[in-house]
């Protein structure tokens, strides 16, 4: 199911899993030394923008564009992986020694080892490019379940590390992970929707699909939030019927035909998590007859606005005002003392004027709200809300998610079936929303319901 879902989102039918199985034994690796890691980690991280992902053009790409994409990807990934490894290594020894955390560390080292053979080389031929894409597929596949495995690891090692440290680490790590996967998946998607070297009759209709589609790799330039919301409503609604016997409804208001350029996978993850929360709260408060109101509000952008923004850019940097900027949050890396957000945003303020503002989605439910105690723990990675029995149950069983909660979870982007119940939904959802300059804000009206505001940026004219 995992593979199919991914394929659907990329707009093509071949699954990267297939590619992975075909080529595993052909992937070269090189030994990763500490010196390699140190060298790569010193390199500054390139803050990623949606424009970066789209700059190679609309598929099907020409051979040269495809090679450009491959080389661009190659220029970004080793440094990112090295930063991740260093970041993991800066955790307490006893934590990294935990088998689960250690496995993740090993995965990153392995992935870096597959990229090292390309060091100093550029990808000049299509054959190289195919091999490189196989390496990318391997990367994506290997790290599918990072989050759930890390979660178990941290849970098991909770005696040796504070919840606050874990939150800090995960906030940074998961954001970086989003970026790394995105870069890899984008290249894979572009590869499969281009296929200049393949047989024309087999993949003819694949390519035609790609041409007609609004997709550029994993980005859908004509993504309708309303469409995603309806999909999520169906999925989550079904689960509710299964578990509770009732299904809340959604009422959409505002400009429902709005479309933006964004990544469907991400949006779907965010909305699913939020709807899960809303639906469950609504049902448990006995308010399933009250429709959950979702407002879709596209933000306007005028020529004048973008011009003024450009002028104000310098002033804003000077004032150190917090601006919603279009920078890659994954580039903030505490381990290497890398770019602080202010500096990163200063370097990228220009990108802000190139992007159109996107859309704000407001989800209003009557589920009774979030209690003041839980409100303080809302953005933690679920570490503080368990009691010892629950933890033992979760860490000892081979299937980390019990019973119905497993059915409630979503595969794909989350990279595992055990997220629900571990309290990762909100912080992870926020990481996705914030990734290109959006965000999630939660306002609880205790005793009435909750309002959630999801703001997203688009990429503008591509």
């Amino acid at each position: 199911m995992l593979g199919l879902r991914r394929a659907k989102h990329h707009g093509f039918r071949l699954s990267p899993n297939l590619l992975f199985h075909q080529s595993t034994r052909h992937i070269q690796t090189a030994t990763v030394t500490d010196a390699d890691i140190a060298r790569l980690a010193c390199q500054p991280l390139h803050p990623l923008t949606l424009a970066d992902l789209c700059k190679h053009g609309h598929p099907p790409l020409s051979e040269q564009s495809l090679l450009n994409s491959a080389n661009f990807t190659l220029s970004l990934l080793p440094a990112r992986l090295a930063h991740r490894i260093q970041s993991l290594r800066s955790l307490p020894y006893i934590v990294v020694a935990n088998p689960n955390v250690s496995k993740i560390h090993g995965n990153y080292v392995h992935s870096l080892s597959t990229l090292l053979p390309y060091a100093e080389r550029r990808i000049e031929t299509l054959k190289d490019e195919v091999e490189f894409t196989a390496v990318m597929a391997d990367l994506v596949q290997t790290h599918n379940n990072t989050i759930s495995i890390l979660a178990r690891g941290f849970l098991e090692a909770r005696k040796y590390i504070t919840a606050k440290e874990v939150t800090r680490f995960l906030d940074e790590h998961l954001r970086a992970r989003i970026g790394t996967r995105l870069i890899a998946e984008q290249h894979i998607a572009l590869h499969f929707s281009s296929q200049p070297h393949n047989d024309l009759h087999e993949s003819a209709h694949h390519i035609r699909d790609a041409q007609e589609s609004s997709y550029i790799g994993v980005i859908d330039t004509a993504l309708k939030p309303a469409h995603i919301i309806r999909n999520c409503e169906a999925t989550v609604g079904e689960i509710c019927e299964l578990k509770y016997g009732v299904r809340p409804t959604i009422k959409m208001v505002g400009e429902t035909e709005t479309s933006i350029a964004h990544i469907p996978m991400h949006l779907e993850y965010v909305l699913t998590e939020l709807l899960k929360n809303s639906f469950r709260a609504t049902i448990e408060a006995g308010m399933e007859r009250e429709a959950i109101e979702i407002t879709i509000a596209p933000a306007p952008a005028t020529e004048e606005q973008t011009k003024t923004l450009k002028n104000k850019a310098e002033q804003m940097i000077h004032d150190h005002v917090g601006v919603i900027s279009n920078y890659d949050q994954g580039s903030v890396d505490y381990a290497s003392g890398g770019n602080k957000p202010e500096r990163a945003s200063a370097g990228n303020i220009r990108a802000l004027s190139d992007s159109t503002p996107g859309v704000t989605i407001r989800i209003r439910d009557r589920g009774g709200g979030i209690s003041p105690e839980n409100l303080t723990k809302l953005w933690d990675y679920g570490f503080t809300t368990f009691n010892e029995d629950e933890i033992n149950e979760k860490t000892s069983s081979s299937d980390p998610a019990g019973g119905m909660d497993a059915v409630m979870s979503q595969g794909g982007v989350g990279g595992g079936i055990s997220l629900a119940g571990l309290g990762y939904g909100l912080p992870l959802g926020r990481a996705y929303a914030e990734y290109f300059g959006g965000g999630i804000a939660v306002q609880s009206l205790w005793g009435w319901g909750t309002d959630v505001y999801v703001s997203l940026r688009g990429v503008g004219k591509v």
Binding site: G254, T295, A297, P298, A299, P300, Q305, T308, L309, K312, Q315, M316, D319, V321, G322, V323, I324, P357, T360, R362, G369, A441, Q443, L445, W446, G447, W448, D451, Y453, S455
Partner: protein, 443 residues
Amino acid sequence: MINICRRPSAKLSKPARCFRPYSLANGNIPPWRPSNVLDEWVQREAHPISLRQLTFFGRTLTESRLLSSANYVRLELPTRIAHRLRNMQTLPYSALTNEHISHVYEAYYRAFETFRKVPEVRTLDDNDRFCEVLKTTLKEHLTVIPRLAMGILEIQDSVSGDECDQFMNTLLRSRISRRVIAEQHLALNETFHSPWHFDGKKSGTAPEDEFVGEIFLKCNAKEIVEKCASRASELTRKAFGPDVALPKIILQGHLETTFPYIPSHLEYILGELLRNSIQAVVERRGAGRDVPPPIEVLICEAAQHVIIRVSDQGGGVDREILPYLWSFAKGPRRNKRLQNLGKVPRLAATMQELQIPPSSDPDSAEAGSSGEKFGSSLASLSGRRPDLRLGIGLPMSRIYAEYWAGSLELHSLEGYGCDAFLQISRLGNKNEVLSTRASMDAV
């Protein structure tokens, strides 16, 4: 430094009540004063108080209670003013020589001198004299807020935005606190002297029963929202013409909720929020075209607090001013704000001409609220024309909300509208939020 030997002795011998307008030939440099007096008062701690304490204290009013209230106020006021004077003294020199900030500084210093010299209140006569002093000073300080706001906008080159905001927040918070305890004492004094007050007994029949001094025990959110809504609509009509299509204000939720609060505070906050919403909707839709989308006000009650949500479809907050929404140090619209502040009525008035503007809808129950009686500075601000955008409504409202440990949040859906969330503590048992002494003199 020219001023050192200017007239310290002259100042000491001046009677406390003589308020000679302050001016210096060579600019607004404040005169030097011996600092040991101020130091002494700065050393003291302020004693914050809660709504509930104020209520219980005032419920059974005896002569001795009245006198002890007078003494509490007599000592608290100079202590709190001293703390703020010290704050101002540690601002950069260039900030304090700004004309507006200097005016406020001088006013505060005069008030400090006045209050610190009040002897212990032992009799009702002493108390009466003290109340006169209170009233006069309250009146004199009516124009502090616009003055400060203008000063802040002007000193932005020498003081950073953050520091300005912190300074304003501290000052305004303290100002609210001083006025609350002063006005509360004056209201209690009046209750004590009113014809149906029986010493030591709570009158069961008078409408004043529901008021303890300034505090209205049964603030009903619905009524206050309706009152503010009609006032804001009136003002908008005045500005945009009588034909303008005004959005309807729809109330939902727990409409019967009541809680103890100071009505003038709540009216100010809700007034600002509703006025912002109505204006935004009217400006967005263009006067008199299609039916404007309604403004939805939700009242939600929980055990410990009440939340009021004001939701409009006025187009949201412009992205370029969003970072400055809660700040007194404005960004792109600074100059316009400065101009507008200068036009606020009562700003240019001299003390002799100060008059209380007639309130648009004097409710019989509200007549007891001292907001109308003792000259509320809020009244002059709230009564301004709606197109006179001052840029201080939101940050001020937040300070008022946070004063009794509540909160004010705003979420903007850009291009669509805004949701404002006002949270009020219901039990009245949270202490005032004051800036502590420790945070002041720390070096």
